[in-house]
């Protein structure tokens, strides 16, 4: 194809745009844009073990530590004491600890809660809707949500007292 650089340029431009779009969409395909830091955390409704209903949007103004866990997951069991300890301390600073159970029976969750002496709200997610909305594929996963309702950060793996404290500072009102 000789001469006429304009035609060549147009063809190349079209191809480059098409490629750019394809690469972008292929690489970002599995990640929904919803869960970027700074974006609003997906709203949800869930009941705790006592039957009390919690709605995330109604908790604005407080920092939320949203922990996803299951009784079968060893690191989840190991981090529970830390969460229990911090839940009391952080309440005064306007930070709430909520633990979302990953689809287990009430019996199992109830027994576990009693066994570990947990006093913070344990939310049930039987259909795994909330876990899906938060793209949770490994347990434990914890989202730190700022008091204005936006996502501050996500931690995959067990927490300890220090990490909870440090991150709570970022989300406290």
């Amino acid at each position: 194809m000789n001469g006429k650089p304009v035609i060549k340029m147009v063809i190349l431009l079209v191809i480059i745009v098409a490629i750019g779009w394809t690469i972008y969409s292929a690489v970002t395909k599995d990640k929904q844009p919803l869960l970027a830091t700074g974006k609003p955390a997906p709203d949800f409704i869930a009941k705790d073990l006592t039957g009390k209903e919690y709605r995330l949007s109604e908790l604005k103004g407080k920092g939320i530590i949203l922990n996803f866990w299951g009784t079968w997951c060893k690191p989840c069991r190991e981090e529970m004491p830390a969460l229990q300890e911090m839940s009391g301390k952080l309440k005064d600073q306007g930070v709430l600890v909520l633990a979302v159970n990953n689809g287990e029976s009430e019996v199992a969750v109830n027994a576990f809660t009693k066994q570990y002496g947990l006093t913070f709200p344990i939310l049930l997610d039987k259909r795994l809707d909330i876990a899906k909305a938060y793209q949770v594929d490994q347990l434990p996963t914890t989202y730190f949500i700022k008091h204005d309702g936006t996502l501050a950060l996500r931690v995959i793996g067990p927490l300890n007292v220090n990490t909870i404290l440090d991150n709570a500072k970022k989300i406290a009102p």
Binding site: I19, W72, A108
Partner: protein, 532 residues
């Protein structure tokens, strides 16, 4: 732009090998035989200053570069198979590769090879191959088309004498015009399209087969576009869902729910075999899921109760999927006769009297069961997949009821604080209590079937099929027919003949010799080809 003026007077652009008008070779290199590729047209512009655009264009129009890219893609694809990709493993990749494969696993993970096929560089490589497909084709077809369309009937003698098939024959007294007319007729009789200019003839047939390779490349590009369409949301889905008998569950990745009313496995009976076989109903005849598909009108509202509307009901068998709009549910797997619920009888040991029964649903156990006015059984703890951890504590390994264990309390007037029993499969224990008042008897458990359905959405298929058909079309065009041209020129009592084809030279020689013979010239096909 520098041009080269041919001796015939025609002006050719730089890089042209053969004059576009008369065919005479413009460079010194083609001494013995002409390079007829693309009719000698110039394919790459050779300006004094090559712009950046030209450099990019040349890179992608090179077949060598295309082959290098393809080989790189092959090597990368092979490397992706060394260890399982991250979509195939259950654990977290950060932990798994080093744990399972040691130092090599760690290197693999650090280099990002655990998601080879979705990594940006792999996709870029594939796309560059796609670009190369387009540019290679464009770069060649445009000059080729122009050259073939504008080719002249009368070619320079040097062009004719340097062709691979050529001959110079004496007319031997034949009348020039008669000879030419005769040749025209014989060419036409063999299906050639004949053009004449003065004493020169060009017979051509099968030009369309030259476009074959370009057609099949277009087909490949359409095919690749079809495959890439899986990136468009909603166009492609490949998931799996297990559904228990009676369960309604979300179809992953969609706004639908599916209910398994019943899963049935049918076996061949003895009288269904053509010969007598002693298989006793062990060979499966069919797997059927009686399925109901629902649409969730509350889709998109997290945590909201699903509002289900039935949209289709069908028996799903292997190769007979449930299809609704773009969704297909395929019968894929089965776990028949799994534990669904434990059935226990509660017995007062001292009297041997059976107080009642209780059912423990392994997927949704009740918190407490009232046996009668005085006796209640409380479910203290439930481990679906019981194990003891390294600290000697009871835990569950997963959420599947593979090895269910219950901690039960019998609350009665005789045991107001509850008597604890541990119920395993077929066994019960009373820890710390040598004389329990109550005993649980095991009755036949409820067995359920779990069916496995493959969830598929594939809107890309029409495009992929279309692309494939175009590829076949191009291949047939290119391989089944050949482009043949025969030039004839009568000058000073001599017949100058030359012939060219893109494939099947042997056939062309045969045909050319036959035409010349039928027109009254004596020549054998073996004499036509240039030696050496």
């Amino acid at each position: 732009m520098e041009n080269v003026k041919c001796e015939c007077g025609h002006v050719n652009s730089v890089g042209t090998m053969l004059c576009e008008s008369c065919g005479v070779p413009l460079s010194e290199e083609s001494a013995n035989q002409l390079d007829m590729r693309y009719e000698g047209a110039s394919r790459r512009s050779q300006l004094k200053k090559r712009s950046f655009i030209d450099d990019i264009w040349s890179f992608f129009s090179s077949v060598k570069n295309a082959i290098i890219m393809i080989v790189l893609a092959l090597i990368a694809s092979a490397i992706g198979t060394i260890f399982p990709q991250e979509t195939m493993i259950a654990e977290s990749p950060a932990v798994y590769y080093e744990k399972a494969y040691g130092i090599f696993g760690k290197i693999y993970y650090v280099l990002g090879l655990h998601h080879t096929y979705s990594s940006w560089w792999f996709i870029t490589l594939l796309l560059m191959i796609g670009v190369s497909l387009v540019i290679c084709s464009l770069d060649r077809i445009v000059p080729l088309y122009r050259a073939l369309k504008n080719q002249k009937v009368k070619k320079n003698r040097k062009f004719l004498q340097l062709q691979r098939i050529r001959a110079q024959l004496s007319l031997a007294g034949k009348d020039e015009n008669d000879a030419i007319n005769e040749l025209e007729k014989k060419l036409a009789a063999k299906g050639y399209k004949v053009r004449r200019e003065g004493n020169a003839i060009l017979g051509e047939k099968g030009r369309f087969s030259r476009w074959g390779p370009y057609i099949n490349h277009i087909g490949l590009i359409i095919f690749i576009i079809g495959v890439l369409m899986s990136n468009i949301p909603g166009f492609y889905l490949d998931k799996y869902v297990w559904v228990r008998d009676g369960q309604t569950i979300e179809v992953p990745g969609t706004k639908y729910y599916v209910k398994n009313e019943k899963f049935i496995m049918e076996f061949y009976q003895d009288d269904e075999y053509p010969e007598k076989l002693d298989l006793n109903g062990e060979v499966v005849k069919s797997y059927t899921t009686k399925a109901v598909l629902y649409e969730n009108k509350n889709y998109g509202i997290t945590g909201a109760e699903p509002k289900l509307v039935e949209v289709k009901k069908q028996d799903v068998l292997v190769n007979h999927p449930l299809k609704y709009k773009e969704l297909g549910l395929y019968q894929s797997g089965q776990q028949p006769n799994q534990l669904g619920a434990l059935n226990l009888g509660l017995v007062e040991k001292s009297t041997g009297k059976e107080l009642g029964h209780l059912k423990l649903d392994l997927y949704n156990p009740p918190a407490s069961i009232k046996i009668n006015d005085q006796v209640t059984v409380k479910v203290l703890q439930y481990y679906p997949n019981f194990a003891i951890d390294d600290k000697g504590q009871p835990i569950t390994k997963s959420n599947e009821p593979i090895n269910p264990v219950f901690f039960l309390d019998v609350v009665s007037p005789a045991t107001p604080k509850g008597e604890t029993a541990v119920v395993l499969l077929g066994q019960m224990l009373n820890p710390g209590n040598d004389n329990p008042l109550y005993q649980f008897n095991f009755e036949k458990p409820d067995l359920i079937n779990i069916t496995g359905l493959t969830v598929r959405v594939d809107e890309r298929l029409p495009v992929i099929y279309f692309g494939s058909i175009i590829v076949i079309l191009g291949l047939v065009m290119g391989f089944y027919w050949q482009h043949r041209r025969i030039w004839l020129d009568v000058q000073e009592g001599q017949l100058f003949m030359a012939a060219y084809t893109n494939k099947n030279w042997f056939g062309l020689k045969q045909e050319t010799a036959r035409i010349l013979q039928e027109a009254g010239f004596s020549i054998e096909s073996g004499q036509l080809e240039k030696e050496g």
